[in-house]
Every structure is written in structure tokens, then in C-alpha cells.
Symmetry: C2
Subunit: 261 residues, 2 copies
């Protein structure tokens, strides 16, 4: 930090001062002159180096933060944002073979890489589905759904929230409507209930998090989320579950395999 060499401003450039400062710092980060976790020069140091007002320096720092490159810590400094280890989600993660060892997909995967998985904030209700959910599940106006919401954590860090919607006609008074859905998770319960799973569809969007999502996932500013909606179909072609998932985008890489025909 003390030995970081920052260029001077180019007074002939049309580029505003705060963008030039942001460019310098961004270049330092991208060139690894500043490494993840390392402290950037403090606001006072930048003010001294560039001889500009504090708001100008703060504006530059704010840009980097909104790009997800840095995080500020009150009273300590501004740091290059460390990247969490990435979880790779493969498209066969719901294959029956993975389920039959009695573990839900998330638990099995996470333990597989030596980390401690946990689940919290489990809530279960029965309610009238939104129009979108009703459409995906093929329900009519009078039908109701069991809603299972929960949050997944790895080593205590939240990485994903998920909300499942299952037609009440299937799930009511079963273990699916209990907080602990039992070994293998709700997909195992659905199969026991005679809904042998055939395939899933997944829709993936990416966007900036809503306020609640940023809080629930403890997201740093400038980190987008994956918004994933999965629908499970049984062999009769009936949609038996919709799962709405929000994931921190820098904790995940999604991976799929596509046939060529």
C-alpha cells in the first residue's frame, strides 16, 4: 500500500478527475498491484496524492465499490474485495443417483469439498399461489400451495435462499410440510408419494439484488445475483414443484450439458 505507485492526473484529458482516479485504482487491482484483501490508499492519502477535494476521491472509490471491486470498512479502510471460493453447480445435481444416498443435493455437494453446510430460516406455510407460480404448476384458481422457504449457508456464510412451491393437493399432511423433510429432501418424498421425477426446467436470470436479498445473503455492494426458477415434472408430465432460488453470483458457476440434437 505504501509502495503503490499511482500515476498523476492528466489535466489535458476530457475524462473527469474522479473517473481518472477510479481508472488508476482499477488498473492497480486488475494488474494485481493490489491483491484481494489488500488495503487501498486511504481517502486522505489519495487527497494528498491527487490534490483534490475529498468528495472527488470518494466518488472514485464509490465507482469501484459499485463495480464490486472493493469493499469499504468503516473505521478501517477500503479493501480489494476477496473472492469467495466458487461452487460449481452441475446440471446432473438432481440426478436420482445423488439423491439415493439419503442426502439433499446441497448437503452432499458441500461436504464433498470439505466445507460445513447448514440450513436456517426454514418457514413453511400454505397459501394461494401467485399467478406466475399457479401458471408454472398448472393450477387453477381454487388450488393452494405449500411454500417451503429456507436459506443455505456454507461455513456460516449465506450463499443461497430458496423457496419451493408444491401443490397442496400433493404436499399437505406429508413430511414435505414438516420443517425436516427427511433423508434425500423433498424430491425423495415426492417420489415416495408416487411422483417419479422425469425432468426439470431451469430459467436463469441475473440482476442486482433487492434490498432484502442483499441483506439475507450479506452481499457486498456491486455483486449481482442469479435468480433461478426450477420446475420439476413427474413422469406423468405434471409439474410437481417450483423452486425459486436467489444465489450470490460470485459464489457460483452454473454448468449445463446440452445435447447436439
Amino acid at each position: 500500500m505504501g509502495d503503490l505507485k499511482l500515476p498523476s492526473l492528466d489535466p489535458t484529458s476530457d475524462r473527469p478527475v474522479f473517473k481518472q482516479i477510479a481508472d488508476h485504482l482499477r488498473a492497480a487491482i486488475e494488474s494485481k498491484a493490489l491483491t484481494p484483501g489488500e488495503k487501498l490508499p486511504s481517502e486522505s492519502q489519495l487527497i494528498g496524492h491527487y490534490e483534490v477535494a475529498r468528495m472527488t476521491v470518494r466518488h472514485a472509490l464509490q465507482i469501484l465499490q459499485s463495480e464490486g471491486l472493493t469493499v469499504a470498512q468503516h473505521g478501517k479502510g477500503v479493501f480489494v474485495r476477496p473472492r469467495p471460493p466458487v461452487r460449481r453447480l452441475a446440471s446432473d445435481r438432481f440426478a436420482r443417483q445423488h439423491r439415493e444416498q439419503g442426502k439433499a443435493a446441497f448437503i452432499a455437494e458441500t461436504e464433498g469439498v470439505g466445507a460445513k453446510p447448514s440450513v436456517d430460516s426454514i418457514t413453511i406455510k400454505e397459501e394461494k399461489p401467485s399467478q406466475d407460480i399457479a401458471l408454472r404448476l398448472g393450477l387453477s384458481d381454487a388450488d393452494r400451495v405449500v411454500v417451503r422457504a429456507r436459506r443455505y449457508l456454507i461455513d456460516g456464510h449465506p450463499v443461497e435462499t430458496a423457496t419451493s412451491y408444491i401443490p397442496a393437493s400433493i404436499a399437505r399432511n406429508t413430511r414435505i410440510a414438516e420443517p425436516n423433510s427427511g433423508p434425500g429432501g423433498i424430491y425423495a418424498r415426492l417420489e415416495e408419494l408416487g411422483h417419479r421425477l422425469d425432468h426439470f426446467t431451469e430459467e436463469i436470470r441475473a440482476r442486482m439484488p433487492l434490498r432484502d436479498e442483499a441483506r439475507a445473503l450479506r452481499l457486498a455492494p456491486g455483486v449481482p445475483v442469479f435468480h433461478l426458477v426450477r420446475t420439476a415434472y413427474d413422469q406423468a408430465g405434471r409439474a410437481v414443484e417450483v423452486c425459486d432460488t436467489v444465489m450470490s453470483s460470485d459464489a457460483y458457476v452454473l454448468s449445463y450439458e446440452l445435447p447436439a440434437q
Copy 2:
């Protein structure tokens, strides 16, 4: 706009003033009191309503912008960001049946919804691949690749940049190394060259755009991108192409189908 009712500040709250103002405006947008394309109250109007300094109002507006909710237009005002029509990419989009009508996937899909597709900035080079690309293509140190870069537009709006890497041993001196790769695109050429395609893998990340990407895709602030890396394998199990794609995340929904076994 003139009839938009904004609450007053809560002086008893610990929440900073600029966040309260951002909350009010965000709520107005989310409740559709302000609709996409509509103009927000001007800075002066907000200063008058809340009786705060201009920087405080600007700070609030900047938050909304970094969330991708608004866009500012110099000299005109701040507007609720209109959402572009969404393109849905299905997991069978590279299926042979779609290719055999002689059109590349992008062209066929886009015309299918009545919009005008175009492609520009086509560049072709031959070079030494990066370590990552070499690994994905299973190449050794001396091997080279043909690199095809291009940008896709819909009705003149850029939506996607793509860079394909094909082993030079396959593509050199073929139509793949020509700007116009011919009917059906490079996948059709690869099959003609005896590399009958078997399957693809896709890796999906989401993140904030780099500066160049934001420029090339004309992205509004606060809009993340999908970063998609697709590898094509022929029936001999050989990787024959890697395609590195960056897409505006609000122009796309990615859709996949997963088997249950």
C-alpha cells in the same frame, strides 16, 4: 410525475436521509407509481420536497442508478429504466434441426420474433491460445487457434459479444476462418469437416461488466452481464470449439432442461 406522492423524512429514524429518499423512490418504482420510461422528480423538486442539500438527493439517485432501476439523461432528467424485451435462450438452441435450415442460431431465433438481427465487428485472427482456452480444447503448447470475434445486435441494439476459439488444425484455410462463415454458421462447417457434434457444455457466471463490455453492449449503469463459456464436443469426444460470450443480463433469460437421472 407532478402528482407523485412522496412521504416525508422520518427524523426519528437511524436510517440516513439519502437512504430514506432512495427507499421512497424505490418504493414508487416497485409499486408502479412510477412506470418504466417515466421521469422521476428532478433534483430541484426533491431538494424542495425534502429540504436537503443537493448532494444528498444526488446520493439517493445514484443508489437507484447503481441498482439498475433508473437512468439519468444529461439535460433531461432521471427516468425509470425501461426493460428491453427479453430473449429466451432454450437449451436446444444448437440442436441440429435448427441449424439445417441454413441459418445461424442467433439469426433464426431473432427473426422468429419479428426483430431485425445483425452482426458486426467481425474479426478473425490466428494466435496462441490462453492457458484456459488451451485446457478446454485439450491443446498442447505448440498448437494455435483461430479466433472469431463478433457482436450481435437486435434492431440495432447490441445485446451480445461472442468470441469463438477453434483449433487451427481444424479451421485453418476453411470457411471458418472467413468473415462470412456460410449458411448454418460455424457449427455447420465443423460438421462438414467431419466433426459431427455430440454435445455442448456451458458454464455460466454473472458479474458486473468490465468497462469495455459496458461500452460494447451500451449497458446502463447497474446492469450485470452473463458470462457464458460454451465448449462443443464432436462424437469422437474431442473439443472442437470454445465460445466465450458476454450478454446483457436484462436482455436474456437462459433456459435449460435437466434429466432426472
